[in-house]
Amino acid sequence: MTTTASSHRQIAPPALEMTNVRKVYPMGDDEVVALDHATLTLGSDEIVALLGPSGSGKTTLCSIAGGLLTPTAGSVVVGGQDITAYNTKRLAKFRQETVGFVFQSVNLVPFLTARENLLVVNELGRRTGKQQARSRADQLLEELGLSDRRDNLPSQLSGGQRQRVAIGRALMNEPELVLFDEPTSALDTHLGEQVMQLIRSEMKSRGTAAVVVTHDERIVHYTDRTVRITDGVLHA
């Protein structure tokens, strides 16, 4: 099954182009097909909800799009970069520079302040220079309403504040694509809606594409498009 962003083609290159991507895991003498000929294209500022039950392959798709896994077959192009044949080292550099992640449990570094959690991205990757990185981190925190919390440790922040710090971290390297892994699963309904509003406004204001992996149907209201996945097969 093929899904494309056909409604409004962007002038800028697509943020993500996955073409006939397969991911097969060996399991003893057999093989498990986690992703079966998946084709997905995201416009440069498009937000797509990837909806599916547990074990449907949405995490595998997200991992391949983010350069965490390499496909068994097919091609993956992110922001114009064909990462299909990248080795581990090039994938690490690609992740440093081109994608942002917001993980299911937020996963901030517990002994770093909110500001330092954002600066980690620069320390690991692009290294734009301390001053420039600090300015960007401060700007992001201000935009996310966390200026007065920048020197707090994650343990001193609420769940929603931690989620916002994680979003800031994902945006720190000015990515082409941000991958959200179940961003509302640990939050109550009200907070989940707030976070999704924030994600939408942040992505749209920056013109950044995003894939939101979820099994929560309510999230589709905040995305441009919904793609469903079942047993490794994408459905529009």
Binding site: T59, C62, S63, G66, L68, L69, K89, A92, K93, R95, Q96, E97, F101, F103, Q104, S105, N107, V109, P110, F111, L112, E116, V120, V121, E123, L124, G125, R169, L179, D181, E182, S185, A186
Partner: protein, 371 residues
């Protein structure tokens, strides 16, 4: 690296256990080294202080001063060997000394040396019946102006000065002229008597441009195999019990270093397992295995350096607290440095055991888990 450093600063409690154990190990290592150096120093410092590159024994002596005899003719042969600048006879007799004011059974164990070439810290040989005494004998009441009686024949020897840090077989030394030593030896140890002009060994000074090992071979060749010439270091190691003490202590020190490796390896392996989730996230953000492993090594080295510093302070405090002469304990700067270096290498080596775990952490595991 910065992340690892910040963790050390902000979560010091996580590293307290490993630091405490490594501090105990560092202290143990310094104490063992100090005891080894103290024992070796007590057994050998009188020989190690000789100002000559070669010590010549008679070939049948098995490198033992009491068993060795060098006749005047043999000495003359040695003196003519090319590369030899100066030759001085030396001999030693281990005796009990009666000290005025002490009880009749309260003997001071002394090693009476007769010498021609003054060792480091010792003046030229004193007059007949006189000797310089090692300062360690002061606690036995031996000091300048006192006349002691050595051996069963109660040979009188008047102390005319003190010298520092010269022991032989853990006994304080007396430094006398060759004749004083010969007279005392012949009077008190008749079975070990020495004739006129005879010494137990020779201290040989070598031409600065000559190879001491080659000169030693030439000496033994020129004497037709009647001598066995050793470098000063080899002569020190040949003293009774020295190599055995060194070997035993070095084995204990080696085991202690292995334990330090195991402590670091286990601690950081557990820490790495505990951090697997965090490392997966950092890898997903673009951290390389090298960066993460570098952080582990940094933490291992810092924790060990801190433990070594505290261990050194404790060992120095023990050194100050020990009354002089009560326990053979000498903490040398070289020992502190080598122990610290060994511990730091142990830390790096211990951290290597975490490398495989760090390499195996899959960044993809950061996604799709709620941990």
């Amino acid at each position: 690296m910065r992340i690892a450093w910040r963790e050390l600063r902000r979560r010091p409690s996580r590293f307290v256990t490993a630091t405490a154990i490594l501090t105990l190990l560092a202290t143990l290592l310094m104490l063992l080294g100090g005891l080894l150096d103290g024992l070796i120093d007590g057994a050998t410092s009188a020989v190690a202080a000789q100002r000559g590159g070669i010590i010549v024994f008679s070939s049948t002596s098995e490198k033992s001063f009491p068993r060795s005899r060098i006749s005047p003719s043999l000495r003359a042969t040695v003196a003519q060997v090319p590369g030899v600048v100066d030759v001085g006879g030396i001999g030693v007799a281990q005796l009990g000394a009666r000290v005025p004011g002490n009880g009749p059974r309260d003997l001071a164990d002394v090693a009476l040396f007769g010498y021609e070439l003054a060792p480091r810290g010792v003046p030229a040989p004193p007059g007949p019946g006189e000797a310089y005494a090692d300062r360690s004998l002061e606690r036995k009441g031996i000091h300048p102006g006192v006349t002691i009686e050595v051996g069963p024949a109660r040979t009188p020897i008047r102390i005319v000065g003190m010298v520092d840090g010269l022991s032989y077989s853990d006994q304080g030394t007396l430094w006398s002229s060759p004749d004083t030593w010969r007279n005392a030896t012949n009077a008190n140890l008749p079975e070990a008597g020495v004739g006129p002009g005879v010494f137990q060994a020779l201290v040989v000074r070598v031409d600065p441009g000559a190879d001491p090992a080659a000169v030693a071979r030439r000496i033994d060749g020129r004497t037709g195999g009647a001598t066995e010439s050793l470098s000063l270091g080899a002569a020190v190691n040949a003293l009774p019990g020295v190599s055995q003490q060194r070997s035993t202590f070095n084995q204990i020190i080696g085991v202690t270093i292995v334990i330090a490796v195991v402590v670091v390896a286990l601690f950081f392996a557990l820490l790495t397992v505990e951090r697997a989730g965090l490392y997966a996230v950092l890898k997903a953000l673009g951290a390389t295995s090298q960066t993460l492993f570098g952080g582990v090594v940094l933490q291992g080295v810092v924790v060990t350096a801190l433990a070594t510093a505290v261990g050194t302070v404790i060992a120095l405090a023990i050194d100050i607290a020990i009354p002089p002469g009560s326990i053979p304990y000498t903490l040398l700067p070289s020992r502190v440095l080598t122990s610290a270096l060994a511990l730091l290498l142990a830390a790096v080596f211990g951290c290597v055991f975490s490398l495989r775990r760090v390499l195996r952490i899959d960044p993809a595991s950061a996604i799709g888990t709620g941990q």
